[in-house]
Every structure is written in C-alpha cells, then in structure tokens.
Amino acid sequence: MIRVELPFHLRRLAQVETEVQLEVAPPITQRSVLDALEDKYPMLRGTIRDHVTLKRRAFLRFFACQQDLSHEPPDAPLPEPVTTGAEPYLIIGAIAGG
C-alpha cells in the first residue's frame, strides 16, 4: 500500500479528507504512483502533471523521506519506506507569495 499526501486544494478536488492509499504494482516509481493516483482520482489529471507531457507542474514539489524528489527521473525507484507504506509520498504546493 502506497500512501500519498495531497495539498489542501487537491484533497478538496478529490473529495478526500486525509492521505490517499493506493495499490501500485511494482516497480514503485514516481510515474507509477502518479499514474495510479490519477487512475483512482481522474479529477486530478492535469493538476499535478501536464495532461500531455506528464511533466510536473512548475509550482509543485515531490518529497519523501526528507528528500526532494522533484527533479529525480520519473522512473527511478522510490525510497524503500515509501514502497512499504512506512512513509508517505508527499505532493507539496511550493511556497510562493502570501
């Protein structure tokens, strides 16, 4: 079970209260997790990654296990604690402005 934490506005869009839990087949990568997230919550398509290029939207960051994964290759394996569900995969809105 993969745990994903969404920012406030995306939780509202997806109509979820807390973190999201996903079944993801190996390999567990940022791409496979985001694919599974958008498959379960299709209203999030386009809000995290561009619809066509699937590139991360510029003002979002991806963190896990105290690491910034925003610029890691999308097919790189995620840290082991994320794959076991011990740690969540965090989608964060970059802090900008007031």
Partner: protein, 395 residues
C-alpha cells in the same frame, strides 16, 4: 415572480448573489472553490440552472466545474470519485480539464509560436480559461476562451473540449502577442440572429469574426489605432479589452480598447471612435442596456499605467446615443479616495423591466443599480478582488 442571480468570480473563490424581482434584499452564498481563482462563471440561456465555471490556479492548473442546480452543487463534468475511470463507451474520464491545442495539419495549422513581449517567437502554452460562453440553443454546448489565446468548444456539457483551430491558424496567429495581463481570449459573442456568426476578442491581437460556426476566421480591426505598435493601423496587435452587442442589433458592436471607446455598425468590418467627452477613454468593461440598444456603459480609469478612477472618484459613464455623448453616474458610488479597478468581465446587466446594471471591483465590492445607472448601492463590500460578474434573470 422573477428572480435575479448574480454569478461572481473572484481571486479566492466564487459567490452567488440572489434576490427576488424587487432586488432589494440579497442572499449571498459561497465561497465556492475557496482559494482558487474563478475567472468566470456563466449560465446557459437555455437551461439557467446549468452553470459553467472556470476554476484556475498557478499551482494546480485548470479545472472546469459545472452545476445543474443553479449553483447549489458542483461537479467536474464526467468525473465522480469512486466511479470507473472510463465511460461505458471506453472514453477516459478526467478529460474536462484537458485543453490541448490542435496542431494537426488536417484540422488546423501546425502553428506553435506567437510573438513574445520582445518580438521574439514564443511557444504557445495553455494557462487558463478566461471566459466560458454557453450556447444560445444547447445547454451541453459551450465555448471557452483561453490563455494563450485560442477558442475551444464542448458539445458534451464540458466533459471534453476541442480547439476550433481555424482561429489561431487563419494566418496572423504567429503575430499575436500578450498584453500586460497575458494573451487571453476574453470575449466571445454569439450572434442571436445568425447562429453561424461568432465574434471573439483577444489581448493583444484584436477582434475576429467567424461566419461558419467557428471553422474559419478573419481579423476585423479596421479603424483601430494603437500608438504602441510600429504600425498603429496594423491588421492585428490591438489590445482590445472588451466588446459588447445588443441581441436585437448584433451588427452594432461596441468596444473598450486599451485606449479609445469604439463602435462598429457593420459587424466589425469598420470601427470608429466614440470616446467623445469621456474624461479618459482607458478602461476595461463595456456593456449595453438590456432594452435600449443604443445605451452603453463604461468605467473609465486614469491610464494604462494607473488602473484606478480619476481623482479617486468611481464613476460609471453612460451614453444614451451609442457613444460620443457621455454622462457620469455617481449617485451611491464613492466620490473620494477610491482606487479600485473594474476588470473586463466584471460588468453585466439584468433584463428586468427597469434594467439593472452590476459591476464588481478589485476592492471586492459588487455595485448594483436598479434603474439603469441613476442610483447605485453595494450588494456586498468585502469579497476578494472581483474578476467577473454575470447576471441571470430568472422567470
């Protein structure tokens, strides 16, 4: 008993203001979509309870929302949580937010760049939907004007959107460039007497007309003069802020340009200036009285560099002669220390017997006049900055 519903888009959510036909007591509902910029909401003229909304964010991109009950509840068209991710026909859901430019040689033109502020070529990038214009005849059909400028259409209630690529591809698209607020297609006018005719306006490209339901387009900017351009009379490049028409006289168009208030009596083929005695002819909105096709309204602001009313006095100007002769309307509006702006989509009229005029400000007020502009009162004073105002007159 008639009823009026005012749809207000703001920097931090949407609000709906409702009143009975007397328009004395108002209920305020919202905020909806809190924290998001709501560029525009508009109801279908065929089914007024069908309302489309453009919800947008620099962080999370574009979301289209739809209500089927007059704004009480909302959904992203075609997508509900927990449901299968494909329709029974096999089409993917989650497509209602997807605005992808058509670059196929078959349907459009492989146009990929427009002009940037410095005159260099810049890739076309979708940013947001500025304006949604529901069809006059079908509640499932609507048009979306987007930034970077293009026109999209849905025929399935907003579940999917397809570009009408003939607009960008008609020939001048590569010369369009953004205005200070971006390169947005902000005005879409559907001709009630000629269903094949559509007008659109783009900052800073100009005005365009289609005579075949949006398939092909041509620029209609003859008579516009813009001193910031190398050729002030160029075919495109004009920063048109807003155009408006009266349904009974759709060949007559009124325009608030970057500077100048303009008029055309031949469906945009030729324009002439009607700024007349306005104290300044810079502004954003322009609208037409519901029952008097020659009565028009603008809100002049000081200049392109100072987006606030002259002398701190918020004044709507009305012309009952279709331009040139203007009178200030001040009763009930702040006449000192007022430095708000009124954005291009933030003025609308109702169609009650005594025409109501509405506008929202960047200071969060929505002002209303029940008597065509003679007297004004704020319905609300403290909303977030208002981006758009639309009015539905419900029977």
């Amino acid at each position: 008993m008639s009823k009026v519903r005012v749809l207000v888009g703001t920097r931090k959510g949407a609000f709906i203001l409702t009143s009975d036909g007397k328009r004395q007591n108002w209920d305020v509902s919202g905020p909806f979509f809190t924290g998001w910029e709501i560029y525009h909401l508009k109801g279908s003229p065929v089914d007024p309870n069908r309302i489309y909304a453009s919800q947008t964010s620099g962080w999370f991109g574009q979301v289209i929302q739809r209500s089927n009950d007059g704004g009480k509840t909302w959904e992203q068209p075609g997508t509900a949580p927990g449901e299968p991710t494909k329709t029974p026909e096999g089409f993917p859901k989650g497509e209602s937010n997807k605005f992808v430019y058509d670059t196929s040689p078959e349907t459009g033109k492989p146009i990929t760049t427009h002009m940037w502020y410095d005159g260099t070529a810049h890739p076309w990038e979708f940013k947001r939907v500025w304006h949604i214009e529901p069809s006059l005849t079908d509640p499932d059909t609507a048009y979306a004007g987007v930034e970077d400028a293009a026109l999209f259409r849905t025929a399935d209630g907003g579940k999917t959107w397809q570009e009408l690529p003939g607009l960008r591809g008609h020939g001048t698209g590569s010369q369009w460039q953004p205005g200070a607020g971006g390169m947005g297609l902000h005005t879409i006018l559907l001709d009630p007497k000629n269903p094949a005719r559509i007008f659109v306006a783009i900052s800073a490209a100009g005005t365009f007309r289609s005579e075949d339901h949006g398939k092909t387009w041509k620029p209609i900017n003859r008579g516009l003069k813009s001193q910031f351009m190398p050729d002030p009379n160029a075919e495109v490049g004009h920063c048109v802020h807003r155009i408006a028409l009266h349904p009974s006289k759709p060949d007559t168009l009124f325009m608030q340009k970057h500077w100048d208030v303009m008029r055309s009596d031949d469906a945009g083929a030729n324009w002439y200036e009607v700024s007349g005695n306005l104290p300044t002819d810079f502004g954003f909105p322009i609208d037409v009285h519901a029952h008097e096709p020659n009565t028009i309204y603008v809100v002049p602001i000081k200049s392109d560099s100072e987006h606030f009313p002259l002398d701190g006095k918020l004044r709507v100007y009305r012309s009952r002669s279709g331009g040139n002769e203007w009178e200030p309307l001040t009763k009930g509006l702040p006449q000192k220390d007022c430095y708000v702006n009124v954005l291009r989509d933030a003025m609308a009229v109702d169609s009650m017997d005594s025409c109501g005029i509405y506008f929202g400000t960047t200071g969060g007020q929505v002002y209303f006049s029940p008597d065509a502009g003679d007297n004004w009162t704020p319905i609300v004073r403290d909303l977030p900055a208002v981006l758009s105002v639309e009015v539905q007159t419900l029977k």
